[in-house]
Symmetry: C2
Subunit: 269 residues, 2 copies
DNA sequence: CGTTTGCTTGACAGCATTCAACGTTGGTGG
DNA sequence: CCACCAACGTTGAATGCTGTCAAGCAAACG
């Protein structure tokens, strides 16, 4: 339900540039390295997870000329804010983001967490202004995809057009899965589903399927899952007591994946 | 947050064919009538709410040839089911639908209610199979828009392409609003937001802004809002006691819209 | 006219929230 | 290098909102 069905990554050396789990390195050194390689979609090791999925080599080179600029966003900074003019969508290249919306009375809702290869900013198409804030949860870099040019190019290449539509549709399906989670699951089920979804996406990017470092706070997890931070913390502790996880602050090791999975798929006890 | 910002309908005789609130007429007589008028997008009185928004007359005639077939769906029947092959998107012409997803363990979540001019089936693009069930809540008729042809045509006309993207983006923004509702609002706030959203959309279609007939059961409202049907019922009663609404089963009259609006925008009491 | 489906209401229970205190970690500056 | 501070995380106790279970009523349908 929460699962993004993302094609498996071409594993050619994806570990080359990856921020350490200690968070001590900042993103810029990584960015420099990529720039040195003159990175383009056609040679990006994320291309099997990102917009270029399924494009031919000539199509890729057109896309390369479109995705000419990159942007570095420091941890805690916004890639865009609600109300900003919408000009581009963004592909996460390195790092990690959250998107959130705010109601007039100040309540926030985290609407998603985005990692490498995932697109940000699709909400902006509907009104020409962004409808959420996108905040970097660690030093990050994104590819800037000017939207007008993306529309132009996808009128030329039906493969690109179709892939873009698939990505938007996938976001809709994902959102519906989150609605199911928020509308009908209990705290334990929500957190279990969340962890399984995260590890599945990380695994598709070449990371371990059983160990992960959370890039977000308990409060951010809680906002996404419709829970208070105390409930998130308590549920982590409960999972640890039950032998499902090992929790050390933001370092999580899944010790009983089947147990987690059973939680998600079980009706009320 | 829940509000779809939909342009106001051109009011030329939109009341001509409208199923009675008693539900005693079936949709087919209505359908016949429309067929007699040889309905096309270019002459449809929903065109300012639907896919054709902003298209020129020549573009509209192209769209007319694409949207050649219509389909009648009886109350309770499905327009499509989860897993069905995806070939078309559908525009609601008359009637009312719900979409729902089911988890493996049998839990359902209503993900939306669709009325005239709104599109159904966008979820299917991502995997070439529909990802939800679309169920008619009253006898309904939809325009069938073959998706492959829609892609073809929107490569020719950037206006159509852009409008289609806007519609998908608007669905994403709407979903995020529902997440906010499910994640952070209490029962009263959820129901108030739901009613305001419904009346706003109905009003854009020429109906009263203060009276409405619910096409869905308390259970379906509850599923959409992440509440049990008893809670929905109790909250309706509470609103009535407080003088916000007059509730007679599915007939609702809003007697204090400002009061409802205040509920949605107020932080916790 | 009887049956089914949907709606309302009451009593009670349970899960998540709230409020509060304390512990941990990482960064900063003396 | 260490002390301090701020942000984050954990845990306990009590409250309350919503769910659960149950009964009765109303409306719709054949």
């Amino acid at each position: 339900m929460l699962n993004n069905t993302i094609p498996v990554l071409d594993q050619s050396n994806t570990d080359a540039c990856r921020s350490s789990s200690k968070g001590s390195t900042n993103g810029s050194s990584c960015a420099m390295k990529y720039e040195a390689f003159k990175v383009a979609c056609s040679s990006c090791n994320l291309r099997e997870l990102c917009l270029p999925v399924g494009l031919s080599q000539p199509q890729l080179s057109h896309l390369d000329s479109l995705v000419a600029t990159r942007k570095t966003v420091k941890r805690g900074d916004a890639l865009f804010h609600t109300g900003d003019a919408f000009r581009s969508v963004y592909a996460v290249r390195t790092g990690f983001f959250k998107t959130r919306i705010s109601s007039e009375d100040g309540r926030d809702q985290v609407t998603g967490f985005q990692m490498a290869g995932e697109l940000l900013g699709l909400d902006g198409i509907s009104t020409d202004r962004h409808a959420c804030d996108a905040i970097a949860l660690e030093d990050s870099q994104v590819c800037v995809i000017p939207y007008a040019q993306l529309e132009d190019l996808s009128r030329e290449f039906s493969d690109l057009q179709h892939q873009f539509h698939k990505i938007m549709s996938r976001e809709i399906v994902r959102d519906h899965g989150v609605m199911l989670l928020l509308g009908s699951m209990r705290a334990e089920e929500r957190l279990a589903a969340f962890l399984l979804n995260l590890t599945q996406r990380l695994h598709a990017r070449g990371f371990s399927a059983s160990a992960l470092v959370l890039r977000m706070t308990r409060e951010e997890i809680g906002s996404y899952l419709g829970l208070k931070l105390e409930t998130v913390s308590r549920t982590f502790s409960k999972f640890q007591d039950e032998g499902l996880l090992e929790v050390k602050q933001r370092d999580i090791r899944i010790t009983d994946e089947a147990g987690l999975r059973a939680l998600v798929n079980s009706v009320r006890c």
